[in-house]
C-alpha cells in the first residue's frame, strides 16, 4: 500500500540525527516535526528568522509577532534564537542547516527540482525555496510518486521551470525511497506491499534496482 502523508513524514524522520538543525517546508515536511525519535534533540529553523521553532501556541500564548515561514502563529522552544531574514538566509546559504525537507512538483535524474511554478497558472513565487535548495548539503524531497492522473513526477528531465539544479539526492515518495546519483534514480526502499514493478512503471526517469529492495516497516 502507498504510504500516507504521516508515514512519509515518519520515514523522513529516520533521516534526522541528534543535534541536527533542520528546515521543514510547508505540507508533508511540516509533519516530520511530529515524529522526531524520542531521546533525540533537533532544532527547527524557520526562514523568516527563527531557530528553535516550537509547537503552535495555546490560545493564551498567541502572539502576532511570533510566526513561522508559513505565516502561522508558533512558539519558540527554550534556547531559541530570533534574528533578521538576512541572518536567516546567511545560515541557509552558508550551508549551516543540516537537513532541509521540502515538497516538489518534479525531480529528475540530474537532481534538478521544479517546485514553484506551473506555466499558465498564477505564479505566487518561490519564497525561500531557491535559497534552501542552493544552500543545503542534505535535502530530502517529499512528494507523491505520480500525479493524480498517474503521470510520474520522477523524470529524465524536469519539464517545469526549475527551483534549483543538481541539488537533490534523496526523495521519499508514497511508494519508495529513492537516491539520486550518477544520473539515475536508485531504488533504496519500497512501501509495504508495493512491488518493484509498480515503482518502475511509475518512474519515468532511469531507475536502477540492485538486488533485493527492502520493504519499509512501520510500528
Amino acid at each position: 500500500m502507498a504510504l500516507t502523508r504521516e508515514q512519509i513524514a515518519m520515514r523522513v524522520a529516520r533521516e534526522l540525527q541528534d543535534g541536527f538543525y533542520v528546515n521543514l517546508g510547508i505540507g508533508i515536511p511540516t509533519l516530520v516535526a511530529n515524529y522526531v525519535p524520542s531521546g533525540m534533540e533537533v532544532m527547527l529553523q524557520s526562514e523568516n528568522g527563527l531557530l528553535g521553532m516550537g509547537p503552535y501556541p495555546t490560545e493564551a500564548q498567541v502572539d502576532a509577532d511570533m510566526i513561522n515561514a508559513g505565516k502561522e502563529t508558533v512558539t519558540a522552544v527554550t534556547g531559541a534564537a530570533i534574528f533578521s531574514s538576512a541572518e536567516s538566509f546567511a545560515m541557509i546559504r552558508g550551508g549551516h542547516v543540516d537537513l532541509t525537507v521540502l515538497g516538489a512538483f518534479e525531480v529528475d535524474v540530474s537532481g534538478n527540482i521544479a517546485s514553484y511554478m506551473i506555466p499558465g497558472k498564477l505564479v505566487k513565487g518561490m519564497g525561500g525555496a531557491m535559497d534552501l535548495v542552493a544552500g543545503a548539503q542534505n535535502i530530502v524531497v517529499t512528494m507523491t510518486h505520480a500525479d493524480k492522473h498517474g503521470n510520474s513526477k520522477l523524470l529524465e528531465q524536469c519539464t517545469l521551470p526549475l527551483t534549483g539544479v543538481n541539488c537533490i539526492n534523496k526523495i521519499v515518495t508514497d511508494l519508495a525511497v529513492i537516491e539520486i546519483k550518477d544520473g539515475a534514480f536508485h531504488l533504496i526502499e519500497r512501501a509495504p506491499g508495493v512491488s518493484v514493478e509498480e515503482i518502475q512503471q511509475k518512474t519515468a526517469g532511469k531507475l536502477v534496482v540492485s538486488g533485493e529492495v527492502p520493504e519499509m516497516a512501520f510500528d
Partner: protein, 232 residues
C-alpha cells in the same frame, strides 16, 4: 528637530517628500512586523506609480494590499505574492509588474544596498528563470549568479522600541526584513510601538543603530494575524 532627535509628531511629516514613481523598501513578512500607520499614510497621500520592495504584498484589506485599490503600486519586488484577489486581478490584467526574487536574495539585496555593495554572487537561482539575463561565474567549481543590490528613495520600518536618536530594537519574528530595510532607504522612517529616551535601550542590544534612521514616529498597531494556528 534638534541634534539627533528624529521624532516627528505627524504621519504627514513622517512621509514628507514621497513622490510619484519612487521606490519604497518595506519591512515585514506577511502581515507580521509591518509599519501599518506609514502604509495608511501612503494611501492617504494618494502617491502613485510606486515600486515596492517587500517580501509580500499584504492581503486585500490590510498591509500593502490597501494600496492596490487606488492602483498606487506600479511594481512589486517580492518573493511570494498573490494572497489577495485584487493583486491577482491587476497582475493578470498586466496593470501590475512583479519581479519575483528568492527570499534570501531579496534580504541580501537590501542588506548589500544599505552597505554600499552594488552586487553579489549567489548560488541561489542558478539554472532557473531567476538567472535569465544575468551574469554567472564559477568559484571553486560551483556556479553563481550576479545579483544587484537594492536601495530605496524611502524605507518604512516597524520597530518595537526606538529611542529619540533612532536606535531600534525589534520584537520576536516581527524583526524579519525590518533591519535590512532600515539600512537601504535614502530616507528611513521608523514607526515604533514605543518611543523611549536615549539611554533606555542597552547599547549592546540595539538591532538598528540610529545612523540609518531619519525619522521616528509613535505608531499604533492592529497587528492582524494572517494564519491563526493553535495547539490541538
Amino acid at each position: 528637530m534638534a541634534g539627533f532627535d528624529k521624532v516627528v509628531k505627524t504621519y504627514e511629516e513622517a512621509m514628507a517628500g514621497l513622490e510619484d514613481g519612487m521606490t519604497v523598501i518595506a519591512g515585514g513578512f506577511g502581515l507580521c512586523g509591518i509599519p501599518e500607520g506609514l502604509i495608511a499614510q501612503i494611501k492617504n497621500m494618494g502617491t502613485k506609480d510606486l515600486t515596492f520592495v517587500s517580501n509580500n504584498c499584504g492581503v486585500d484589506d490590510f498591509g500593502l494590499g490597501i494600496l492596490l485599490a487606488e492602483k498606487q503600486i506600479k511594481k512589486m519586488i517580492s518573493s511570494y505574492v498573490g494572497e489577495n484577489a485584487e493583486f491577482e486581478r491587476q497582475f493578470l490584467a498586466g496593470e501590475l509588474e512583479v519581479e519575483l526574487t528568492p527570499q534570501g536574495t531579496l534580504a541580501e539585496k537590501m542588506r548589500a544596498g544599505g552597505a554600499g555593495i552594488p552586487a553579489f554572487f549567489t548560488a541561489t537561482g542558478f539554472g532557473t528563470p531567476v538567472a535569465e539575463g544575468k551574469e554567472t561565474r564559477q568559484f571553486n567549481g560551483r556556479d553563481y549568479v550576479l545579483e544587484e543590490s537594492i536601495t530605496g528613495d524611502f524605507a518604512i520600518v516597524r520597530a518595537w522600541k526606538a529611542d529619540r536618536y533612532g536606535n531600534c530594537i525589534y520584537r520576536d519574528t516581527a524583526m524579519n526584513f525590518n533591519p535590512m530595510a532600515a539600512t537601504a532607504g535614502k530616507i528611513t522612517v521608523v514607526e515604533a510601538e514605543e518611543i523611549v529616551e536615549p539611554g533606555e535601550l542597552k547599547p549592546t542590544e540595539i538591532h538598528t543603530p540610529g545612523i540609518y534612521v531619519n525619522r521616528v514616529i509613535q505608531g499604533s498597531f492592529e497587528k492582524r494575524i494572517e494564519r491563526l494556528t493553535l495547539r490541538q
